[in-house]
Subunit: 314 residues, 2 copies
Amino acid sequence: MSDKPHVMIHSSWYPPALARLDEIAITHHLYKADDKAAFLAEHGPKCSAIGTMHSCDVSLIEACPNAELILNFGVGYDGVDVAKASERGIKVVNTPAVLNDCVADMALALLLSSRRRVVHADAYARAGRWAAEGDYPYTLNAHSTKVGIVGLGRIGMEIANRCAAFKMEIAYHKRTPRDDVPFKYYADLVEMARDCDIMIAITPGGDATRNLISRPVMDALGPEGLLVNVARGSVVDHDALIAALNEGTLGAAALDVYPSEPNIPEALFEMRENVVLTPHIASATHYTRMAMGMVLYDNLKAKTEGRELITPVN
Amino acid sequence: MSDKPHVMIHSSWYPPALARLDEIAITHHLYKADDKAAFLAEHGPKCSAIGTMHSCDVSLIEACPNAELILNFGVGYDGVDVAKASERGIKVVNTPAVLNDCVADMALALLLSSRRRVVHADAYARAGRWAAEGDYPYTLNAHSTKVGIVGLGRIGMEIANRCAAFKMEIAYHKRTPRDDVPFKYYADLVEMARDCDIMIAITPGGDATRNLISRPVMDALGPEGLLVNVARGSVVDHDALIAALNEGTLGAAALDVYPSEPNIPEALFEMRENVVLTPHIASATHYTRMAMGMVLYDNLKAKTEGRELITPVN
C-alpha cells in the first residue's frame, strides 16, 4: 500500500507540472468527473490535501473532511475560503514570487500594445488599409508618461522597475506608504488618477478592493488616459468602465482579468481601437506555470516529510 | 516681398509640425500637385530647400537647381541620394535622437505582443473562445530570455536599456564592437542568432545591410525564436522570412517595416498566431512627430540665419 498522500484536484493546472505531482501523491481529478457529488463522496474522505486554481469554497472543504492542506495554483487566493480553512486547521499555500516577472511583463505588454495601438494597427495592416487609405493615425506615446501603480507589492515593484526603463514617472497607491521606494505616494486614488496618464492595477482582489477603480477614478484618468488591469476583475467597476469608454471620459483600457471569467462583458468586444482584451494569461507561460506547479510540489513534499510549509498564507 | 526661403515639400509629415514650418518658410506641396512635372518646373527653381520623408532622388534634386538643403523627416536617409546631394554641395539634415524613445518603445511593444501573443489572444477573447473552448494556450515568456540586437547605435542602446529591465541577457552585432557596453559582441550574425531567443533589428538600411537577416540567421534563431524588425524592410530577406515561418524553422516575427511600403507581403496576412504586423509606426506618436518636425524647423532657421546646421549627415 502506498503511503503517498491523496490529493483532490478541484481544477487542473499546467499539465506537465500537475504530472510531476503524481510522483509524490495520488491525485483525484474532480474536474474530469461527470457526477461530482459521487466522486467527492468516494474520494473526498481519503484526501489529506486539495489542489485548486483560484477556487475552493466551503462545500469542497467539507467534502474533504481530512484535508490538512490546500494547494492554490496562483498568487491570488481570494477564491479560497481561507477563514473556513483556518477554522478547521487547514493550511493554505499559494505560488507567490515565481510569477512576478511574467505578470509584470504582461502589464507592460498591455500598456505598450494599448498606447501604441498594436492590436488595432495589426488589423489595419492585415486588411490592406495602409496601401488603400494611407498611414495609420498618430498615437500617444508610452515613454515619458506618468504612471500610477495601484498596489505596490512584489509584482508592483517589478512593474515599476520596467516602467522606469521607459522613463516613466512613477507614482503608487496602497493602504500604507512604503518607506523603501522613491516613488510618489497617493492615499487618494482619484488624486493619483488626475496626475497620471496611465494607471496599472495589481492589487489583491476580494471585498477590500471591490470596485476600487470607480467611475470617478476613470474620469480623473481622462480622455487620453489608459487603465491597465492585471489584478482581478473585481477591482474595476466594469459597468462604469464601459460607460466611461463609451462616453470618452476614459481614453483606453487594456484588461487581462474580468469580474465573471471566462466571460468578458460583451460591450467591450466592439471597442477595437482603444481596448485590448486578453483572457487572463498574465502568468500563463510554460516557464512560469511550471515554476508555479513546482512551488506546490515542494509544499506538498514538505508537508509529507513533516517539514515547514514554504509559502503558507494562513 | 518676403525674404522667407522657399521649400519644396516632396512628402507630407506630421501636419502640426509642417504648419510650423510656414512661420519661417514658403512651402510648396508637391505631393498635392496633380501635374508634378509642371509643379516642379514652376516652383523648383526658386526653392533653396527640399523637405521629404525618407525619399529624395536625383530627379527631385535636379528639379530644384538652387537647393542648398534637404530636410529629411526621419532618422533613416537611405531613400535620399546623399552622394548626389554632396556632389552638388547640398547639405542633408535628418531627425536623430528625438525619436529614439518611441522607436525603442515600439520594439518592446512588438517583442512583448509577440512573445505573449497579445494580438492573437485579443482575437480569441473577442470571439468568445475563452468561454467556449477554454483557456488560451500557454505562451513563451519574455523576461529572462536572451536578446540579440542588430545595430547598437542610439536607438539600439535605448532598446537594450529597456530589455535589461525585463532581465534579458543582451548581446549585439555591429560592424565594429563598442568599448562602452557590457553586452556580448558577435561579429557573426548566425552565431548570435544561435545563442539568442529573440533578435531585434535596428540597423541603418541601404545596400550595406540589404538582406542581412538571411535564411541561415532565421534558422539559427529557431522554432521558438522571434525576429523583431524596427529597422528597414530591406534588412530582412522577406522571401526567406515567409518560407522560414511557413516551415516552422523560425518561430515568430513582429514587423514594423517592409521592403515595399505601404505594401506588406500578403503571405504574412494569414499568419495570425505567430506574426505581428504594424504599418511603420515606430516613431508615429504625436509627441515624437512634433519633436522631429521641430528639428527640421530648427535646422532651416539656422540655415536662414547663417548659423551652423544642427543635425547634418553629410
